[in-house]
């Protein structure tokens, strides 16, 4: 190795060493949230503000002053304190919040959603609609009109009249599709109706569905659920939890499964396990109960109840 190589090596070595010793405190202080003020020869603690909005590219105002960068960004070397942060974009509502920045910490506002100022509404149907229902798969929409029950695609295209039924009750509380997708129930505080969606696609308009009022209740109906088999409805009316076996032939079977001490509260139906959860307070203390309505148990229960009915009938 000649002398020039040795000189080059020494220069490279000492330059690298100097570079390391210079850069290390700068990078470390930056990472640890310290800011070196070279003019005042002072070091002070800072925090970071991380902003991300949807849509991106929104302007940022910190304490009323426009920040040079747009979202997403991180604003570094902020002294600890509370900052008024505004995120603005033309055509969207302004997002505004007071954000606290703490030393050596990151304050994140990364889920800012800017809503457009001009909301666009699409008309799905021209018909005068009293009520409507969208199943969970969101593929179709059912709407109840004065001229009957209709179904169309979710965007309103391809409408078809399912049934001429038009005596829709007032104050419908909820609508629920059966697990097999072939029936739909709706109810208000006095009654339960079922729409049988059993007509073939090829059937002529108006013959595809049938609407039937399956129950008129003297007690106020609180909630109604489909049993997983789609042939039974569990409903809570007054203090009772009842089951209704549906079917067009031979009338309706109604059985009271549970009589609560008061109106059951906090109803939740676990459709996967066919269990009804509710609160009751038989001794003045509210407790959580579960009513197991699984197929096996349910079948046996119905059998037992039927036998009891038969005995009573025979005795009469």
């Amino acid at each position: 190795m000649n002398k020039s190589d040795t000189v080059i090596r020494h220069i490279a070595f000492f330059f690298s060493l100097a570079l390391y010793l210079t850069l290390l405190p700068v990078i470390l202080s930056y990472s640890l949230g310290y800011h070196i003020d070279f003019h005042k020869l002072m070091i002070y603690k800072t925090g970071i503000l991380s902003l991300r909005s949807t849509p991106l590219g929104a302007s940022i105002y910190i304490n009323g002053k426009l920040y040079p960068d747009t979202t997403p960004t991180r604003i570094e070397e902020l002294r600890p304190g509370t900052y008024s942060v505004e995120v603005k974009r033309e055509g969207f509502y302004t997002w505004q919040k007071e954000l606290a920045v703490r030393s050596n910490m990151v304050t994140r506002a990364e889920n800012i959603l800017l809503f457009p100022t001009l909301q666009v509404t699409d008309k799905v149907s021209d018909r005068e609609t009293e009520n409507f229902f969208i199943p969970d798969d969101r593929s179709q929409v059912y709407y109840m009109t004065k001229s009957g029950l209709y179904r169309s695609n979710i965007d309103g295209t391809n409408p078809r009249k399912l049934s001429p039924y038009s005596e829709w009750p007032c104050d419908i509380i909820d609508k629920k599709l059966s697990p097999d997708g072939k029936k739909m129930l709706f109810f208000n505080k006095n009654g339960i109706w079922i729409i049988y969606l059993n007509g073939p696609i090829s059937a002529k308009d108006g013959d595809i569905a049938e609407v039937e009022e399956v129950l008129k209740s003297p007690d106020i109906i609180k909630d109604v659920f489909w049993h997983s088999g789609s042939n039974h409805i569990i409903f809570v009316a007054g203090k009772d939890i009842d089951v209704l076996e549906i079917g067009k032939e031979g009338g309706k079977n109604i059985v009271t499964l549970n009589k609560c001490s008061q109106e059951p509260q906090g109803l939740y139906y676990d459709a996967y396990n066919d269990s009804l959860y509710f609160n009751d307070s038989p001794a003045g203390k509210s407790k959580l109960y579960r009513l197991d309505l699984r197929e096996k148990f349910f079948g046996k229960l119905m059998e037992r109840i039927k036998k009891e009915f038969d005995i009573i009938y025979d005795q009469k």
Partner: protein
């Protein structure tokens, strides 16, 4: 166990212990003190990036030097060399030793043909082929055939068979080379040639020396007044089968070549590696290569260093020797082969206890020199074992184990972006390596498609991935084995050229 054995064992444990302490310590601290580890990672990343930048600078200058010296007419310089202590080049003999195991005649013939093609008087060359006895009769017959072919070309063509299982020997290349060197000594003594006038080159069986190698070596030897206190190190390039090797293997071996070029610029740390040359007198004086150590190429340097009380150096020669890339036809076997080869190189960590014991028994080497060389040797193996693990696997741990609270701190938030920004700088090194690898390529064989040159360029994108997975693991493996006293045996790398496989 004697006191010396206990001490040796202690020094065997130190590198592995330090490596594992660092890795496990950082993992544990990531759980309990993520901030400390994050600070350490930034310090280490910056150190590593600047170190890479420093090495790249040295690499560029070494490459420039290699290019400049390519144009030198070394033989002319030998003829015109004069002055106090300068030897007459015509009085110099070259003993070229090829310790071989099962390498086939095609591999050895190519290496011998490279000698024939050299720009130097072949009648000044003593070629010795020492075949391992355990390699079998076929290998011995091949050696005899090679002798028949080449005996009239050189001053002498010696073939010898190294008996297996000699007392005190392990199955190492050093044992075979020592046997060959002793046979050469018999010949040299019989011819009454002064040992100082013989330059010994110990080559791997696949080493093809550049045509200027011996002229360049002779010039450095005759003009060096401390010729017997120096080894002479060429730059190893892996060109023999580069057009046929797998990309993975090419990137790893080119990386080794570049590292060796960098080392030529760091004289005070320079140690012999792979094929190199030295005075035959020195070799005889120090008692040849150790016969029970695997890393014969570097340990001979330390043996000389200790023998001459620290007054021993390595002279870099900007001339190349070409070797085979350890490759296979499929990717996984190539990775395994590369891994085993790198582990064998990493087994050079056995030099650390050897050197430490040597230092303890030698009072003539200045303490500062002992500390400096000892530290350099330890640091090189330690860094090799930990760098890729820290950079790749430890770096994300503070964020993983530090939890939400750490991620809410400015350090937790900045760590990934700071580390990424730092390592983005190293792409400059990658670009330089890409360009240099193209420049160092031998001519494309006719049966290789033109597009392959593009692959030679783009293959470097594999570098970060390879660094992560095979950067440190062979070194950890070797150090752990040494720490646990599970000593390695010499593993001969199988050579594969175009369509030919030999051991």
């Amino acid at each position: 166990m004697t006191r010396n054995e206990k001490l040796r064992r202690f020094f065997e444990i130190v590198p592995g212990f330090m490596t594992w302490s660092t890795i496990l310590g950082l993992i544990i601290l990531s759980v309990f003190r993520p901030l400390w580890v994050a600070v350490f990672i930034i310090c280490f990343d910056l150190y590593w990036v600047i170190r890479v930048g420093y090495f790249t600078t040295l690499l560029v200058f070494a490459y420039r030097r290699l290019n400049m010296e390519k144009k030198t007419d070394w033989l002319k310089k030998c003829k015109s060399a004069a002055g106090d202590g300068v030897l007459n080049y015509e009085s110099i003999y070259h003993a070229i030793l090829f310790p071989a195991y099962k390498e086939g005649p095609d591999i050895l013939a190519a290496s011998i043909n490279a000698l024939i093609g050299s720009n130097y008087d072949k009648k000044k060359m003593i070629v010795a082929l020492t075949i391992e006895g355990r390699a079998g009769d076929d290998c011995w017959e091949n050696a005899k055939e090679l002798k028949r072919r080449f005996k009239d070309t050189f001053f002498e063509f010696i073939i010898t068979r190294h008996p297996d299982g000699l007392k005190g020997e392990a199955k190492t290349k050093g044992a075979n080379a020592t046997w060959g060197a002793m046979v050469i000594r018999e010949f040299v003594d019989a011819k009454r040639i002064d040992h100082e006038h013989v330059v010994m080159s110990c080559f791997d069986a696949d080493t093809c020396a550049d045509k200027e190698y011996f002229a360049c070596l002779t010039y450095h030897y005759i003009t060096n007044t401390k010729r017997s206190r120096s080894s002479y190190q060429p730059i190893p390039v892996y060109n023999n089968n580069i057009w046929y090797a797998r990309s993975i293997a090419r990137v790893i071996e080119l990386g080794s070549s570049f590292m060796q070029m960098v080392e030529t610029m760091r004289l005070e740390k320079f140690v012999t590696f792979s094929s190199h040359s030295m005075s035959f007198k020195t070799l005889v004086d120090v008692g040849y290569w150790p016969v029970d150590m695997i890393s014969d190429d570097s340990v001979i340097y330390w043996k000389c260093f200790l023998h001459f009380n620290g007054d021993y150096s390595v002279i870099p020669m900007y001339v190349t020797v070409s070797l085979d890339i350890a490759t296979e036809k499929a990717i996984i076997p190539t990775i395994i082969k590369q891994y085993k080869q790198k582990r064998r190189w990493a087994w050079g960590v056995e030099n650390f206890p050897y050197l430490m014991m040597g230092f303890m028994n030698n009072r003539n080497i200045p303490l500062f020199k002992k500390i400096r060389r000892g530290f350099h040797l330890f640091e090189s193996h330690y860094t090799w074992a930990v760098w890729a693990i820290i950079v790749t696997f430890i770096a994300p741990l503070p964020l993983i184990f530090g939890g939400g609270i750490f991620r809410q701190t400015t350090m937790g938030y900045s760590l990934p972006s700071v580390a990424a920004a730092l390592f983005r700088i190293t792409t400059i090194t990658l670009l330089i390596c890409m360009l240099m690898s193209i420049k160092l390529l031998p001519p494309r064989p006719k049966d290789v498609k033109r597009q392959k040159k593009l692959v030679m360029f783009t293959q470097w994108i594999l570098a970060p991935l390879l660094a992560a997975f095979v950067g440190s693991t062979p070194a950890i493996d070797a150090q752990t084995r040494l720490m646990l006293g599970k000593y390695m045996h010499f593993h001969v790398t199988e050579k594969i050229r175009h369509g030919v496989t030999t051991n």
